[in-house]
Amino acid sequence: MDIWPLILLNGLTLGAVYFVASSGLTLIFGLMRVITLAHGTSFLFGGYLGYVVAAATDNWILGLLAGLVAAGLLGLFTHQVLIRRFQDDDMRVALITLGVAVIGTDLMLAVFGGTATQVPFPQNLQVALDLPVIGEYPLIRLIILAIAIVLGLAIYFIIAKTRFGSIVRAGVDDAPMTSATGVNVRVVFAVIFAVGSALAGLAGVISGTLFPLLPGQDGSYLLFSLVVVIVGGMGSIPGAAIGSALVGIVSQFALVIAPTYAFVLTFALMVIVLAVRPQGIMGRPA
């Protein structure tokens, strides 16, 4: 049996986690033109909360929802209480969210400890599926891939086809002019910020189901999400999907071919995209 299809599928399922994490960041980044450095914090916070709830209730779905809602509330708090007044000041927003990230890292270390935890999921999902070409493959990874695809399509539909989506896109294009048509762009910003953070939290639970949750993942997932957004093009959901798949696949193949350079190769991908297409694969020139 050839291992390459297996590695490809592993890359895609890892990409699914990256996509859920980075779809929120690309919306925040694209719409508000601010970098939130607390995105990884939402990810890990959501993951831990999902773990606590899933372990306590023995219900994985409740865990997913808990991570989503908890991170969404964290995002809403961060936006409304901490950064709303400084929204036009990129540097302050970056520094404030960096502060949230640093405090969050230590608080989570204090509360959840330094050891690895994994989100429990139902016994009947802990089976392998016999796929053609690839052979046995864990069902849970396919479920997570499916969740990411459905979520991606749903976000795409909302952004592309609804009135709220039109307003969001108009805000990305020209926020002052959008405001002049009677739209309170700041409310739209708040919603997007909360939704983006909630998606990161959901990604945390999903990731915690496939892999252990560890201190430090807040930083690494912030980094991966930024790479995905830069590769895919900021503000673009299809771009985030393509970027996530690429980053996931490249890192999985790199692990097999040249494990020492796996991390470097992921960034090499970013460097190449930046050199050839600075606005990202699906991005538009500023």
């Binding site: 009135r163 039109s166 307003i167 896109r169 294009d173 002052p176 405001s179 002049a180 048509t181 009677g182």
Partner: protein, 240 residues
Amino acid sequence: MPETVKPGGAILDVQDLNVYYGRVHVLQDVSFSMGAEPLGVLGRNGMGKSTLVKALMGFIPTESGTAAFEGQNIIGLPSYKINRRGIAYVPQGRRIFRSLTVHEHLTMVGAPKNARWNIEAIYETFPRLAERKKNGGADLSGGEQQMLAIARALLSNPRLLIMDEPSEGLAPTIVDHIAEVFRSLVSAGQAVLLIEQNLRFATELCDRILFMVNGQIAADLPATQVARDSAVQEKFLGVV
């Protein structure tokens, strides 16, 4: 001080508006008042015309002064509140949203179905937009973009429409079409504040003309006088 119409039937009453860009005093004690009659603001590039409307729309901060719209000050309000009070804006350069289709530009404004301007009324008035409703904003010609910018503003059903250089960069036939739209709006009672560099366009469409020179209102004259008095044109615009 330039002579201004005394407030009374005034829709917009601007008093001593001052705007700075850094240390540059761009608008200097600008005062004027307008009723329902179309008012034109003429001036060469860089004289502060666009700054004036950006200040009125809440795009840029002001140093001092007030602008009473229907008796209530709008200076300091965010743009969306100014729009909801009843002022809509057709910006210079049109500022069409490039990732929205024509139809999405119209639906995002959310005009009430029974209002004077709803989406059906817009498509009736601008059949060209109906033909291109699925096209992206960036794919339109300059004239179509101008139509769309006007349509987008009208859907707010404003009591005051502010247009910043709607004739800029358009072919003469398109300019004539915009003028036609403008006249029908005015005859339907729409109050319009028109910012222009195009002397003929402004004097044909407006009753009164304000001249802006170096951030100040230098003159307030009837449009008919401006149209025939080349000395006035020479003095304030440098054209013969």
